[in-house]
Amino acid sequence: MHMDRTFQGSPTPGPNATTLARAVGLTVDMPVQLGASSVRIVDGVDFAIGVGERVALVGESGSGKSVTARALMRLDRAARVSGRVEFAGRDLLALSEREMTQVRGGDIAMVFQDPMSFLDPLMTIGDQVAETLRIRGVGKADARRRALAVLDELRVDRAAERLDAYPHEFSGGMRQRVVLAMALVGEPRLLIADEPTTALDVRVQDQVLDLLDDVSARRGLAVLFITHDLGVVAGFAERVMVMYSGRIVEDGSVDSVFARPRHPYTRGLIKAVPRIDQDLDRLYAIPGAPPPPFARPTGCAFHPRCDAAFAPCLRDVPAVLPVEGGRAACHLHASQGA
């Protein structure tokens, strides 16, 4: 189905950045629970992340954004991942599970949406943060000291006295800091943040974003930020990739994507969100709903909801082609000879 797609060379990070991680033709199939068949959640995705670059991956439910992120770290044991995932020149998909454990938490770390469910309820937070180091052979006292240092860096109140406390004794915002500390203590070069602020109240979300912004700037940490919230993207990322039904439909700098969205989906999405700083009489509404992965429309998956769709959109999956300021996968641009 995606064989007829043409890749325009290999994907590159944003300007002025050297490539840290790259996915080429990344495809993820998930087994369906009953029966032996599987569903293609991610369908041949290419992208690159530069050293210290902050990239947002935007998508709705079923777009495959979280599955893409987990596939980079090979976190999901049931998923069948194919294509290439390069990190600092190595193909992660070719590594053994044992080698992969060195990459996880060491080179690439991850923070998750709901901090409570991502913490072990029966282990103290000190032990959980230090575990990343203990796995790598750091001594007990040393690991504890470094865990404390990171918790302090993330401004966890009274971290020293609370090392032996359990997750249920922390508030939502503090828990997210603990999860962030767990990720940062191994000094990774790429942090994947999977909707880390979605479950939080706006004020706490603001604090956590601030912290993330601060830490990534100070440590030169690359961040892949997965979210459905365009507001968060605009304030945090340098580059945006938009996913729809398992494929990347647009990729570009935040400024160009927000100012001149190339894909009708991106354009609709930006217009459909009410804004705190503007009064509108009526919102633009994209008709229909995002398709589930097992009922992906033919051709461009967005065509049933697109008001600009024409014949090729129903037939062919559009190639991701370079446009000014980035890339887009839309037949409108292909026919204009971009």
């Binding site: 459905h228 459909a272 969100v273 919102l283």
Partner: protein
């Protein structure tokens, strides 16, 4: 005033934990045809207010008056009239529709309970009409909720509420669980219904941008207390309370230039 809430207090007890007071002296009013926004973070008590308003739970102090009726103490025919005039749309479009009822049964249940359409045929026509109004195909009335997407289910929920021709619609986070690209459809539908039927809407949400878009008056809640209330222009243009300002400042704006400016401002402060 169509609905007025005065001095509401509510405490939840869960022995052996100490009781938690979730509402402290909450008062506000809703005029006919008006859209009122109730905003607050988690733990602000906004959902408890909805439960009290719908007479699903009883506040230990304060009064709720609807069109001359004391809702807290209403019984029998008074309560039934209230239950017809005030309808509710819930957050979770998956849990708020009985999975074992067809669309027709769901939308027609209010007509049945309040004996609004005497014959099954009349009920069926009324259901078809209301389904068309909310943008659903009447031919789908024999299907079950599970075969609809989240946005469509929310339309069914709205149709179910509107079938009995209420005067007030209480919406508890009706778009929070929907995909971004679908939220606008439901927001627009609510707006259309308000204008078309002269409905009063009590819109409970944590998303200030949606509230700004939909509501003429806004009540800001924090830890079970009303912090500030006023018109849209007052709350968003010149908030008086520091809490309201902090809340507004924290909302991310989908504009990179604004985002960068805010970053610079924060760095400057620290």
């Amino acid at each position: 005033m169509l609905l007025s809430v005065d001095g509401l207090c509510k405490t939840y007890a869960s022995f052996p934990n100490p009781p938690v007071q979730v509402l402290h002296d909450v008062s506000f009013g809703l005029d006919a045809g008006q859209a009122l926004g109730l905003v607050g973070e988690s733990g602000s008590g906004k959902s408890t207010i909805a439960k009290c308003l719908m007479a699903l739970t009883r506040p230990e102090q304060g009064s709720i008056t609807y069109d001359g009726t004391d809702v807290v103490r209403a019984r029998g025919a008074d309560l039934l009239r209230f239950r017809r005039d005030v309808q509710m749309v819930f957050q979770d479009p998956y849990g708020s529709l009985n999975p074992r009822m067809t669309v027709e049964e769901l939308v027609g249940e209010g007509l049945l309970v309040h004996r609004l359409e005497p014959t099954p045929a009349a009920r069926r026509d009324r259901v078809a009409e209301i389904l068309r109004t909310v943008g659903l195909n009447p031919d789908d009335r024999g299907r079950y909720p599970r075969s609809f997407s989240g946005g469509q289910r929310q339309r069914i929920a709205i149709a179910r509420a509107l079938a009995v021709q209420p005067r007030i619609l209480v919406c508890d986070e009706p778009v929070a669980a929907l995909d971004v690209s679908v939220q606008a459809q439901v927001i627009n539908l609510l707006q259309d219904m308000q204008r078309q039927f002269g409905l009063a809407i009590l819109f409970i949400a944590h998303d200030l941008a949606v509230v700004r878009h939909l509501c003429e008056r806004i009540v800001v809640l924090h830890k079970g207390r009303v912090v500030e209330q006023g018109t849209r222009a007052e709350i968003f243009g010149s908030p008086r309370e520091a809490y309201t300002r902090a809340l507004l400042d924290a909302v991310p704006v989908p504009d990179p230039a604004v985002g960068r400016a805010r970053r610079r401002q924060l760095q400057h402060q620290s």
